[in-house]
């Protein structure tokens, strides 16, 4: 009897801890304790931020060593590709300057919403997603620098995601490739077609939904944020380029995959747009 009582103690502990975990999980799921949980997360991240920064600076070469060893071949190819791309971009930049001046003049006249003149917070990506099941990055700026939940984040001329968590010194960005991410997009001009670009996971192209079979769409078409009323993102931010577009017989919509405008695996510096949806 004494042995069975003693052997039951671990089970009581297990039951207690499972109940505690399930309670916290349920409260979070129903949104009841969101303030406490967010506060605890922000506090923990801010407390550990200096330690992570210091150790990160020392230990990042270790991580980079393993990362480089695992991906040496692809790094070589990527380096060569980037050098060629750099040459092409230099040539394009010169031609783009004149077009930019004309564009600015037109937008002033038409009063279209756009990034020019929008306040931004420059930030650096200091960590990729700590979870294997979400596609996020952590920035080195938080509420203290003006970053807040819901703000869009761009890099290298394209959308990368939006802020979903913000503590005093750190913020977390949900990337557009995350399976829970949906971005309203437009293509075919200012009065063009509307659709939704959904994430399919890290290193995967986006899936574009709700494109009517009668719409004209082809590979290479650029899609930008639609910026509709209550949209999460301002209008005209490049989201991606159509990689493939197929229309099966009697399908209700096109099968479209979208390659993001930004190489989400390689970005280092980003801009957080100090913008909130109008509602």
């Amino acid at each position: 009897m004494a042995v069975s009582r003693r052997s039951a103690r671990p089970r009581y502990t297990l039951l207690l801890l499972i109940l505690a975990s399930a309670t916290v999980l349920t409260l979070n799921y129903r949104g009841h304790a969101q303030g406490i949980i967010s506060g605890a997360k922000s506090g923990a991240r801010d407390v550990l931020a200096p330690v992570q920064s210091a150790l990160g600076a020392v230990l990042r070469p270790v991580g980079n060593f393993f990362e480089g060893a695992l991906h040496y071949g692809s790094l070589q190819q990527e380096n060569a590709r980037l050098e060629a791309q750099n040459q092409a971009l230099r040539s394009q930049a010169q031609g783009a300057q004149a077009a930019e001046r004309e564009n600015q003049s037109l937008r002033k006249v038409l009063n279209l919403p756009y990034l020019s003149g929008m306040a931004t917070v420059a930030a650096e990506v200091i960590s990729t997603s700590p979870s294997n099941f979400t596609d996020t990055v952590v920035l080195d700026k938080g509420r203290g620098a003006g970053v807040d939940v819901g703000m869009p984040v761009v890099s290298g001329g394209g959308l990368i995601g939006r802020v979903i968590e913000a503590s005093r010194d750190r913020s977390t960005v949900l990337l557009i490739t995350d399976p829970t991410s949906n971005v309203g997009v437009r293509f075919g001009g200012t009065q063009g077609n509307l659709a939704v670009a959904a994430g399919q996971g890290a290193n995967q192209p986006l899936r574009v939904d709700f494109v009517d079979p009668h719409t004209k769409v082809s590979k290479g078409v650029v899609m930008t944020t639609s910026g509709l009323q209550d949209a999460r993102f301002p209008a005209d931010i490049p989201v991606g380029t159509v990689r493939a577009a197929h229309l099966r017989s009697s399908a209700l919509q096109w099968d479209i995959t979208l390659a993001p405008s930004v190489d989400l695996a390689q970005m280092q510096f980003v801009d957080v747009l100090e913008w909130a949806p109008s509602s």
Partner: protein, 173 residues
Amino acid sequence: MFGSRLRLFLVIVALLVVQTTILVGVRVHGAHPDAMLLLGISAGMVGGSKRGAAVGFAAGIAADLFLDTPFGLSALTYTIVGFAVGSVQSSLIRPSWWLTPLTAGLASAVGVVLYAVVGATVGQSQMLHDNLAFITIVVSVANMVLAIPVTRLVAWAMPEGPPAYAGAGTALR
């Protein structure tokens, strides 16, 4: 006992920093190791089922503070895995050195799948996507590699070992 708890706290914090600083950058097609899951497993191997559950719970809560998945999901999963490992380990008559990485690998695989299944039941259905098998393999292999050093670290934090009454294995010995 206070010394042991302080050491355990330090081990949890240290592994949390390593996980969020180094291990998140060691990726194979987007999947990276999970040292916090390994912590619960190691505690089960070293300290028995009760301590495995308790350390798994603490490691899970610590991990959840830095994750964007539902809060409490890691705590629930790691608690169950830590307890299960402790229960199985305590029934072994003569444990061998190779059982440590093997147990860590198998338990990690179970842990990752359990995490995704429980996550799907609380609205995170995207966790059961095509990449789950690959994530399971990467985490299992990485935890097999890290099992021996992490288990030694946990053994340092819990030098007293499992309680005398832990599991049916006591009777078999």
